[in-house]
Amino acid sequence: MIEQYIPVFLVIAFAIVFAVLVVFSSKLLGPQRPTPEKLSTYESGMKPVGSTHERVSVKYYLVAMLFIIFDLEVIFVYPWAVKFRILYNEIGTSVFVSMLIFLIVLELGYLYVYKKGGFKWE
């Protein structure tokens, strides 16, 4: 059982080594001649104004919350989807109806967010 996953670990190890090699290769190959101007933040040739670590619009936070709510539902649907045909042959339409009820409840929440203007960006 576990030996299925040995290739996965090999791939992950290989990817880490390769990614680190690529990122550090220019440290080895490229020149290092830093000047204060070169190291300043790019702002179309102007002197950088203000800091970047300020507040971010709450809209993005809302998107993140909606994502967590709706993406969790995906995880509930997957096991049902994988076993659907077997369960349908055993117990019939109630397998479908129960998931339909679940999706309708999800859709009600979706409609509520929609009505409240959760998907509006101006």
Binding site: Q4, Y5, I6, P7, V8, L10, V11, F14, A15, I16, F18, A19, V20, V22, V23, F24, S25, S26, K27, L29, G30, P31, P36, K38, L39, S40, T41, Y42, E43, S44, P48, T52, V56, Y60, V63, A64, L66, F67, F70, D71, V74, V77, Y78, A81, V82, F84, R85, I86, Y88, T93, F96, M99, L100, L103, E107, Y110, F119, K120, W121, E122
Partner: protein
């Protein structure tokens, strides 16, 4: 198969796939520039080598020999970590995608997939969502406003489309009854391609794949007229190349996923029944897999020059108001097909 054999075979497969991937990425960049040039009635790269064929190598060497600049405002460890994550995601996701049927060499049955795990689809979804971290951290750690805006926009965009992507995949799982990519490919025998049986899910998945890979018309994270370079404004030399490489590798993986989930994977309809020798059939199947990927990659570039970039609010409302309900309808549609036609 002993443990040592398994490790040896896996290492060979990783090396083959990896080399092919790097070559495809290089030439994808070349072909993107060539096709863009044709679309705009210009010549494109034609100086380095015959018809500019050595251009990708010239670009890589040039980037490797450039100075690696870390701005003073940047958060140095995270600024370095971000491209590592991007590359890591790009080079792990391909592991579970089958590119051919099982073959037997010297009495050993070798599946033509690097890791034949039974949770393959979950593996792909889990790793590809890590890609959000690379872009968000790159944008946040650079200490530049362009990068920050690009990074935040991109994280919002990617997580929005991930929801409809997840629901579209549920439709495929309904038919296949398994999370193993090899089983999903086999469930699409003959003309039972998921693209034909569930066209709604196919469309929502392809659109989400475009959004997840930050390709036009959804490339707002790096929309150059407003955000300069977006999240990689403050990156130079190989760190920039890392993001670039990861973007193109992600395009290839997205195409491979679309082929595996919706276009029958490596299968050619009814080829087994013609009566060709077994070796030839397998060769045709492997070639057909790569031909399908090549067509989808061309499609990516084609769309780039056909559809203008979305505005940000259009992008978000397309994701939440159109793609999300459509992907739910797709689940009901597929479940209905299974119940009515006993497919």
């Amino acid at each position: 198969m002993s443990l040592l054999q398994l490790i040896g075979i896996t290492a060979v497969k990783i090396l083959i796939i990896f080399t092919m991937m790097m070559l495809t990425v290089s030439y994808l960049v070349y072909f993107e520039r060539k096709i863009s040039a044709w679309a705009q009635n210009r010549l494109g790269p034609n100086r380095v080598g015959w018809y500019g064929l050595l251009q990708p190598f010239a670009d890589v060497f040039k980037l490797a020999l450039k100075e690696d600049i870390v701005p003073t405002n940047a958060n140095k460890p995270i600024h370095t970590l971000a491209p590592v994550i991007a590359l890591f995601v790009a080079f792990t996701t391909y592991a579970v995608i089958p590119f051919g049927p099982d073959i037997s060499l010297f009495g050993i049955t070798i599946p033509l997939v690097v890791a034949d795990v039974n949770i393959g689809i979950l593996y792909v979804l889990a790793l590809s969502s890590l890609g959000v971290y690379a872009i968000t951290l790159a944008g946040w750690s650079s200490g530049s406003k362009y990068s920050l805006l690009g990074g935040i926009r991109s994280s919002a965009q990617m997580i929005s489309y991930e929801v409809s992507m997840g629901f579209s995949v549920a439709g495929v799982l309904l038919f296949a009854g398994s999370l193993r990519p090899a089983a999903i490919v086999l469930s699409q025998h003959g003309w039972m391609w998921n693209a034909l049986l569930q066209p709604i899910g196919f469309i929502t998945f392809v659109v989400s794949a475009f959004a997840e890979t930050n390709r036009l018309p959804f490339d707002l994270p790096e929309a150059e007229p407003e955000l300069v370079g977006g999240f990689h404004t403050e990156y130079s030399s190989m760190k920039f190349a890392g993001f670039f490489l990861a973007e193109y590798a992600n395009m290839i993986i997205a195409s491979a996923l679309i082929v595996t989930l919706y276009l029958g994977g490596w299968q050619v309809p009814y080829i087994e029944s013609i009566g060709l020798p077994a070796g030839l059939v397998i060769a045709i199947q492997i070639i057909s897999f790569f031909a399908k990927i090549a067509f989808l990659l061309f499609f990516f570039i084609w769309v780039r020059w056909s559809i203008p970039r979305f505005r940000y609010d259009q992008l978000m409302s397309l994701g939440w108001k159109v793609m999300f309900p459509l992907s739910l309808i797709n689940i009901v549609w597929v479940a209905g097909l299974i119940m009515i036609f006993r497919l």
